[in-house]
Amino acid sequence: MAGSGKAHLRDRDDILLSVEDLTVEFPVGGGRKVYAVSGISFDIAKGETLGLVGESGCGKSTTGRAILQLPKPTGGSVKLKDIELTNLENEDMRARRTDLQMIFQDPISSLNPRRKIGEVVAEPLEVWGPSDKDEQWEIVSKMLDAVGINPDVAREKRPHEFSGGQCQRISIARSLVMEPEVIICDEPVSALDVSVQAQILNMLEDLKAQYGLTLVFIAHDLAVVKNISDRVAVMYLGKMCEMSGSDELYAHPAHPYTKLLLSSSPIPDPLVVIDNSMLTDGELPSPMAPPSGCRFRTRCPLADEICERAEPQMRRVNDDHYVACHHPLVEVDEVEVSLS
């Protein structure tokens, strides 16, 4: 499987989660497949926040779920510390998921509407935690308190009695009760109003510092991703385009797709001139028949014949910045291009 290279992987002792050549394909009948994720690699050090950003259909949510083995990826490796998750039996993986938790986009539908908040948050403990109800409640109330929900008021209430922002706080409390190592946040703030979004983002930063969490933060809003992430991976149609420290990425985007995303996000300042330089009329191709070579070429203003023939490999811009593009917007190290 032709990947996009692994030059950007780091050799460090504190790597908590490492993903190599991750591939996820979904059969859709008639022998056809959706190529949702096609050979991406990244690593996350302990305490880091990795942002995954891209348009809908780029495979960012699938990547998040594949880390949790939900469903098991088609190929590649997912390592949590030294444990290879893709080789685990289902029952072992179930136990391992206590270290890996997930927060979803829609806070209201991710809580069971018929159960009380006290039960919803205690559910992971029912399976894996202390069996004593008082001990469970002690943990639950501590976590509800940590997310800014009054535990005694919330205990007997049901999800519909809370706003979207409060439900998201409750989801976060539920993900914290197992004291996970990694939390995968899949668009956790995109359904919320900006004022509540800011509350949740600030809270995630605080919780991360307090509990030493490592986060994978999946979102489509570039400003949100930059705000919370240490490093950002830009994805397009199942491939990784660029990986960089977040300040560096926004200051010096190297991939034309990153530049397109940045210049498309609306800036709340009327004096900023709207930048149409990267905009083409192209549409997102079908993930069932991704373009050859560089998958972005059909929408790229810089694409030429090499982009059609050869898949770009990850190349180094600097130690904190890698890009997979034949025509990067900044200077990169040369590597040999193998024609397919």
Partner: protein, 377 residues
């Protein structure tokens, strides 16, 4: 295709009068729990050819406002009062039947969700030409040609083929283009775009906003762009009205608003957005609390429970909209941003430990509960 409809009764003389004059518009919904005051006294004037951005959080009344102007929410439990004058004609007394002469031909709307605003079992072409045939009284064949032309004008590739497909065969961005083509098909003078890009990816959003802007310029249309995203309105509008709890709390030209906002809610809204120009991990300035209950709104200024500058006066007396020194700039606040009174109010609240003030200054973490203890981690 922009010929005036024969069924239209109002005058079409080009004039310098404003196209839309809204005065003290109120829309209240009667429900079991009480009266929801969704729009509660909105007045504004919109000049021809201009774009007004209406900004606010969910529940601020921005969508109900635009639907009320178009008379799209007529029902026994909806109580609308005030005045909406469109091109000199009062709309509020009109029935749905009378409004049909306006919908599509005079004013049209592009909705948020392109998935649900098209009928999934009717081909694109018929949805695009139904109202054209009604208003323009053209033959089926002529309508088809016009429909294809309008698909081309919104830059849909292969318009002849796309005319005969169902909505599910198109992407979200393409569907929104169809909705825009449909809204523009009868050449309306006034376009309402209600969160037209919220369901779309940023790159598609950029294309759609560009499309709306060029169509508006080419046709000299008047537009109301409703959105929750200050970024979207910043680059695309002439004027902005900020709504909170059913009222306009601040209105100004777009440049003036961003250069010198006076209302604490506008300021708080802008501060709470993460900005790509700030370094990562910049602490966001969140607004404490949450939007008010529209059945039992707080006394006085409806923003006062969340406002870092609120004083006793704000909790008792609702501020009326007043003109600022800058022309066209209006706001409704007793302690407007940038005044010495505002500064004094902030310092007093800091000293008193007002939770909204402490949250705004980052001393405590903002939550949706506004208790005096705040929440500490």
């Amino acid at each position: 295709m922009t010929e005036p409809s024969p069924s239209r009764t109002i005058s079409n003389s080009p004039s310098s009068d404003p196209l839309l004059v809204v005065e003290d518009l109120k829309t209240h919904f009667e429900i079991e729990a009480g009266m929801v005051k969704a729009v509660d006294g909105v007045s504004f004037t919109l000049e021809r050819g201009k774009t007004l951005g209406i900004v606010g959080e969910s529940g601020s009344g921005k969508t109900v406002l635009s639907r009320s102007i178009m008379r799209l929410n007529i029902a026994p439990n909806v109580h609308t009062s005030g005045s909406v004058k469109y091109d000199g004609e009062e709309l509020l007394g009109k029935s749905s039947r009378e409004m049909q002469d306006y919908w599509g031909a005079e004013m049209a709307m592009v909705f948020q969700d392109p998935m649900t605003s098209l009928n999934p079992v009717v081909k694109i072409g018929r949805q695009l030409t139904e109202h054209v045939r009604y208003h323009m009284k053209v033959s089926k064949k002529e309508a088809r040609l016009q429909g294809i032309e309008s698909l081309r004008s919104v830059r849909i590739p292969e318009p002849e083929e796309r005319f005969d497909v169902y909505p599910h065969e198109m992407s979200g961005g393409m569907r929104q283009r169809v909705c825009i083509a449909s809204a523009l098909a009868c050449g309306p003078k006034m376009l309402f775009a209600d969160e037209p890009t919220t369901a779309l990816d940023v790159t598609v959003q950029h294309q759609i906003l560009n499309l709306l802007q060029t169509q508006q310029k080419d046709r000299f249309m008047t537009m109301i762009l409703v959105t929750h995203d200050l970024g979207v309105v910043a680059g695309r509008t002439d004027d902005i009205a900020v709504m909170y709890a059913g009222r306009i709390v601040e209105k100004a030209s777009t440049r003036q608003l961003f250069a010198g906002m006076r209302h604490p809610y506008t300021e708080a809204l802008l501060r709470s957005i993460p900005k790509a120009s700030n370094p990562s991990h910049t602490r966001l300035s969140a607004i404490a609390g949450r939007p008010p209950d529209l059945i039992n709104p707080p006394q006085g200024c409806k923003f006062s429970p969340r406002c870092p500058y609120a004083q006793d006066r704000c909790r008792e007396e609702e501020p009326q909209i007043q003109a600022d020194s800058a022309p066209g700039h209006e706001f409704a606040c007793h302690f407007p941003v940038g005044t010495p009174e505002n500064k004094a109010a902030f310092e007093k609240n800091m000293a008193d430990g007002n939770p909204a003030t402490l949250a705004a200054s980052g001393q405590i973490t903002a939550t949706e509960e506004l208790s005096s203890e705040g929440v500490t981690l």
